[in-house]
């Protein structure tokens, strides 16, 4: 299921830079099938962008997106949980064992004829 994304191609480790509060309890999560370590209190968006360069791929063909407003207004950071729930990455706090999918999978949709 993990697909090659530009996240893997980025020369640096991520887009966001942690400036303080780095001594928090680590929390193990999964992003697109890969293990990742977040810190308690991180939002889903924060962990995606500390780990990589983007949140999702635009469905309109203009490349990758990395969120925009961070206050739940622009809806540019939709991702999915493994059980098919759509979440706003910027307003969702991570929880231990969370599995995040940056693209909706076909299995979330009923099979078509």
């Amino acid at each position: 299921m993990p697909t090659a994304t530009s996240r893997d191609l980025l020369a640096y480790s991520g887009r966001f830079v942690r400036l303080a509060e780095a001594d928090r309890h680590p929390v193990e999560i999964t992003i697109d099938g890969r293990r990742a370590t977040a810190l308690r209190g991180d939002t889903v968006l924060t962990v995606l962008l500390v780990e990589g360069g983007h949140v999702r791929r635009s469905e309109f063909g203009d490349g990758v997106r990395a969120g925009f407003c961070l206050m739940g207004a622009c809806q540019d950071c939709w991702v999915w949980t493994a059980d098919g729930q759509r979440i706003r990455a910027c307003t969702t706090e991570i929880v231990e064992g969370m599995h995040i999918l940056t693209e909706p999978t076909d299995s979330l949709w009923p099979a078509s004829a």
Partner: protein, 458 residues
């Protein structure tokens, strides 16, 4: 005396002071808030396991932030607090909101809407690239997650937030590429006179700018943005601007924080069928209120930046005033001297905001000059050229018609981030004053809801 049912939407400065005032009058308000913690955006709270002090987080506004947060703790068991609840519609005299996947309706004797504001954006070619954030977003990343949005952040736009966020980044040790203000240096005397309505605030602002300069941050005023250089896979790789002197300049950066002051979140007032007016100074369509925060609809009161920009301190005064007005309209005795004092505070804040609007004007002219291939709607990548083509082909200039034909304003953000600029693009293309473009009608739900949301009858 029968108990009153009063609903407050929002827990920012306006909503919090409204709730506090109601509690003091012996009313237990229902307080609906979309977020997980109280505070709204300006005094947004960090997660409970973070340790930075109020001073670190809110700087010179630390006392005000702490006062609001303490107020919340004090009244918390005297209000019916419903966090993580999205108010999504108002009809048939009831507020509809979603909490834990269930949509509920509440009718009330009075509804106080303190919905706050979001960033106002003027598109720049390339702003749909990864690594471009609103100024508010750059501030939230720092305040609530202790992160910078990049290693070298360029601040581009206008308004007090431009300098405030840049200075917060500087103090937190983040890398700053430059601060680029679209407004020319303040020349108009009227702007200065109005800004002097709040001399300490003006002084704080000037200090911020001096502090940035002292630490070697490049500040340019009167800049014209040309392009955010963004790779489709890697995101922001630079920025090109034209300086006031007419020179083209490249800025090396990996993130851009972009914004032109704020815009009120007026959708709920619109759904409640409140009357609106066009404000020529800011090009905003604003719900009308009287000087006591009454909207044109009986039982609906509007307070804070969600009705017109008054700033955080103005929002506190408006929130308290709206609550007093509601109480008075419902036959409860109120302290009229206090109401008069609050009205004076609001008037002072409004004068200051007129100064802000004059010193950092909405750069409407930039919309006219956007290249045809510049994306205006980030949600669905609708370009300025597509909007212009629809206006010319169909000979139309009304915002909702242009939306129907071009889809501008129809995407996920429902026009929050493209609406202001799209109106200017339409006006310039059609050759009409922007007020004749009208305003995008608020549509329910005001934010997307999951299809799985169930309606329950309260």
């Amino acid at each position: 005396m029968a108990s009153l049912r009063v609903v407050v939407i929002g827990t920012g400065p306006a909503g919090m002071r409204a709730a506090e005032t109601l509690v003091a009058a012996g009313v237990r308000p229902i307080v609906i808030d979309e977020y997980v913690r109280d505070g709204g955006q300006i005094y947004r709270r960090q997660p409970s396991n973070f340790r930075r002090t109020h001073r670190t987080l809110y700087g010179s506004e630390a006392e005000r932030a702490a006062s609001l947060h303490v107020t919340f703790e004090r009244i918390r068991d005297k209000i019916d607090y419903r966090p993580q609840s999205l108010a999504w519609n108002i009809y048939d005299g009831a507020l509809h909101y979603v909490e834990s996947g269930l949509s509920k309706a509440i009718a009330s004797d009075a509804l106080i809407i303190a919905s706050g504001a979001t960033d106002r954006l003027m598109p720049v070619r390339g702003w749909n690239g990864a690594g471009v954030y609103s100024l508010g977003a750059a501030q939230i990343a720092l305040k609530s997650q202790a992160c910078a949005v990049g290693r070298r952040v360029a601040f581009l736009g206008t308004g007090p937030l431009l300098y405030l966020v840049a200075s917060q980044y500087r103090k937190a040790g983040a890398g700053i590429a430059a601060v680029l203000d679209l407004s020319p240096p303040v020349r108009r005397l009227s702007a200065l006179k109005n800004l002097c309505a709040r001399p300490t605030t003006l002084l704080k602002g000037l200090k911020l700018i001096a502090d940035l300069r002292r630490h070697g941050v490049a500040i340019e005023r009167g800049v014209t943005p040309l392009e955010i250089v963004a790779h489709p896979e890697r995101g922001v790789e630079g920025l090109r601007v034209r300086t006031a002197a007419g020179l083209e300049r490249g800025i090396d950066c990996d993130a851009v924080a972009l914004g032109c002051h704020l815009r009120p979140e007026t959708q709920l007032a619109d759904l409640a069928r409140c009357e609106f007016r066009f404000d020529a100074a800011t090009h905003h369509w604003l719900p009308t209120t009287d000087s006591d925060c009454r909207s044109s609809v009986r039982g609906i009161y509007l307070a804070g930046d969600g009705v017109r920009l008054v700033g955080a301190d103005g929002a506190e005064a408006m929130g308290a005033l709206a609550a007093l007005t509601a109480l008075s309209d419902l036959g409860r005795p109120i302290d009229h001297n206090r109401a008069a004092r609050l009205r004076r505070v609001v008037a002072k804040m409004e004068r200051f905001q007129r100064g802000v609007a004059e010193a950092f004007p909405w750069p409407a002219h930039l919309a006219r000059d956007l290249s045809d291939d510049t994306v205006v709607c980030r949600c669905e990548t609708i370009t300025a050229g597509e909007i212009r083509a629809v206006c010319r082909r169909d000979g139309i200039h009304e915002a909702n018609r242009v939306k129907a034909f071009s889809r501008v304003g129809m995407g996920r953000c429902q026009g929050r981030y493209c609406g202001s600029a799209a109106a200017e693009v339409i006006a310039a293309a059609a050759g009409v004053p922007v007020e004749r473009v009208g305003r995008l009608r608020g549509q329910a739900p005001v934010k997307p809801l999951a299809i799985s949301v169930e309606r329950v009858v309260a």
